[in-house]
């Protein structure tokens, strides 16, 4: 293995970066050229209109709507790359998955709603749904409050940067890596042996018996949830900490002069000020939690009644060759996100109006 072997890769990287500059730069350049063209055309049209009878053309909308059409074109250009990629990469798959969910395991025959019937009639799939619910309620709640608490506590502390890095560190670890780390924490050895798992060592040194933590439901699901909280708290902490720092100093000062205590300060000043950031954090973590897959797969593979939808979907569609059932689970995942979407719509409305 010599540099010669690496050269083509670096060349590819160079191509990639050149492509980036060309595409993005080109797009912006184009967008500068287009309005000029439009400005000229509008002028021409105005002239044409005034020389003719003077009424607006067949385009219908009154002159006030005219800039709007130009705007739409701009938006189209701004949005084009993202929309095109999303169509290819996500919309087509989503539609395909939905169609597959009405077909059998080999994706050959249409079976109507059978896969959905299967989903809600298998007791173990119902357990999966219940577990998913537990995850999506607990993880955003715990991770966000943990992150918020820590962000408030270390705010303006002496070793703030280091303290924050410690909590953020799990974010830098892959989900699989995190699974390994925690499997090690929960590891079990029989009583006669020395414990290698931290949790059992603590249990033993407190006079208890070593336990097989991942075996008993629902405790095992809670222990898996702890891993996700461990990872996501860093994200929450960083975002919220930045939001806290962005609270204008005058407000804090004013409140302090009013003689509020720390709790009141938190309730009345901090919390309302960071609300937008809080929403972003909760929404992002909720969606990440709905899709959680690697943690469960690495640590229990969904055994001992710990499975969640994403994991079951993967097993059904890829390992068992039951593409229809796997797709039905995926579609159910889409459905679960609807409440979040509705909330987001309301939010957006408020924002646009206020």
């Amino acid at each position: 293995m010599e540099f010669a072997d690496e050269a083509p890769k670096l060349l590819m990287l160079l191509y990639g970066l050149v492509a980036f500059v060309v595409v993005v730069g080109g797009l912006l350049l184009l967008l500068d050229a287009v309005p000029n063209y439009f400005a000229r055309r509008r002028e021409q049209r105005l002239i044409a209109a005034s020389t003719a009878k003077g009424g607006p053309g067949g385009d219908g909308p009154a002159p006030a709507a005219r800039p709007r059409r130009g705007e739409g074109l701009f938006a189209a250009f701004f949005l084009f790359p993202a929309i095109a990629l999303l169509l290819i990469g996500l919309v087509v798959p989503a539609v395909r998955t939905t169609l597959l969910s009405f077909m059998d395991g080999g994706s050959v025959n249409w079976v109507g709603l059978r896969n959905y019937g299967w989903m809600f009639s298998q007791p173990e799939i119902l357990d999966v749904l219940a577990n998913t619910l537990m995850w999506v309620v607990l993880v955003p709640l715990l991770a966000t409050s943990m992150g918020l608490l820590y962000a408030v506590l270390v705010d303006k502390a002496r070793f703030e940067a280091i303290a924050k890095s410690l909590i953020f560190m799990p974010m830098a670890i892959s989900f699989v890596g995190a699974g390994i780390i925690w499997k090690f924490v929960y590891a079990y050895r029989s009583e006669e042996q020395e414990q290698i798992g931290l949790l059992n060592q603590i249990a033993v040194s407190l006079g208890g018996e070593p336990k097989q933590w991942l075996l008993n439901s629902p405790l095992n699901t809670l222990l898996l949830i702890a891993v996700m909280v461990w990872i996501q708290a860093g994200f929450a902490m960083v975002v919220l900490s930045a939001a806290i720092k962005a609270i204008p100093a005058e407000i804090v000062e004013a409140a302090r002069l009013d003689g509020v205590n720390a709790w009141q300060m938190f309730r009345r000043v901090t919390l309302p000020s960071i609300r937008p950031a809080l929403i972003v954090v909760v929404v992002t973590i909720s969606i990440a939690t709905l899709k959680v897959f690697d943690i469960v797969r690495t640590m229990t593979n969904g055994n001992f009644n710990t499975s969640v939808i994403a994991n079951e979907m993967y097993n059904q569609a890829f390992r068992f060759g039951q593409v229809g059932q796997g797709s039905a689970l995926a579609v159910f995942l889409f459905v679960l996100v609807i409440p979040i979407v509705i909330y987001q719509i309301r939010n957006l409305r408020q924002q646009r109006e206020g």
Binding site: L31, F78, L79, P170, K245, I251, L348
Partner: protein, 321 residues
Amino acid sequence: MTTTTPAPPVAKGGADRPKTAAGRVRRRLNTRVASLVSIVIAVLWTLPTFGLFVSSFRPEQEIKTTGWWTFFTDPQVTLENYQDVLFGRSSSAGQLASYFVNSVVITLPSVLFPLAFAALAAYALAWIKFRGRDWVYIGIFALQIVPLQMALVPLLSFFSQGVSVGGVQIMPAWNLDDEQRFIQVWFAHTCFALPLAVFLLHNFISQLPGDLMEAARVDGATHPKIFRTIVLPLITPALAAFGIFQFLWVWNDLLVALIFAGGGNEAAPLTVRLAELAGTRGNEWQRLTAGAFVSIIVPLIVFLSLQRYFVRGLLAGSVKG
């Protein structure tokens, strides 16, 4: 939320303004408890990783039979685990550098493209008025839930078979080989990153002071001009912030790489190599521990060195006009 003062978003200088005497005393009292609690949390959060770190230097037999904390009473250190992971037993031994290069080649464009495309889209969704923009935004937001796993097959067939509608080929297959496979990986990562990127950046961009935009528009600036001269400088830190997250995800990704980069050292990243090293039938702690650390090290360095921009980015973004 409550302020309407168009405070300049880069008001970071005054983070540590002098306080009133009363405030200072109250702070002192609170800090005791605060630091205690925060230390407890920090320890709780660090201990698992620390245990793994210590373990990665212990001999195989020790890892399997005793807890990592015994290390402090009976220190035995070996570099064999790292040697195994880094240089391996197999013919690809010593090729880790090659996989490392792959990871870098994969990561850079996979961070840049989604950032740029998402920023453009987020700007359009926030500040250009056009019909149905809320629905476009909500649509993109909702796409976050599409599981990656379900998107792999259609995207792979897009590359390997092109697009054909009713038997008519409207786009040819890509037929990418060896290092050209990077293109597939970039493409896939860009697609999958967009929904979240648009969501987060939209959140920042839409909170920029509206007066700024209005003023520019009154001056006759076009959207591209506003984007380039006003928005871009203001959201650069936010871009850096999302860039770090995207970097972490791409760097740690295994699934996308397995499908689109293959397993060879022409294009596969570190994660693929490390997964392979976990052993054919192996649940071998000694390699897993060392392997985990090799993969952690770069993201950690990146985060620690870019943390400043990151915080500043979120800071700028959350200032509401």
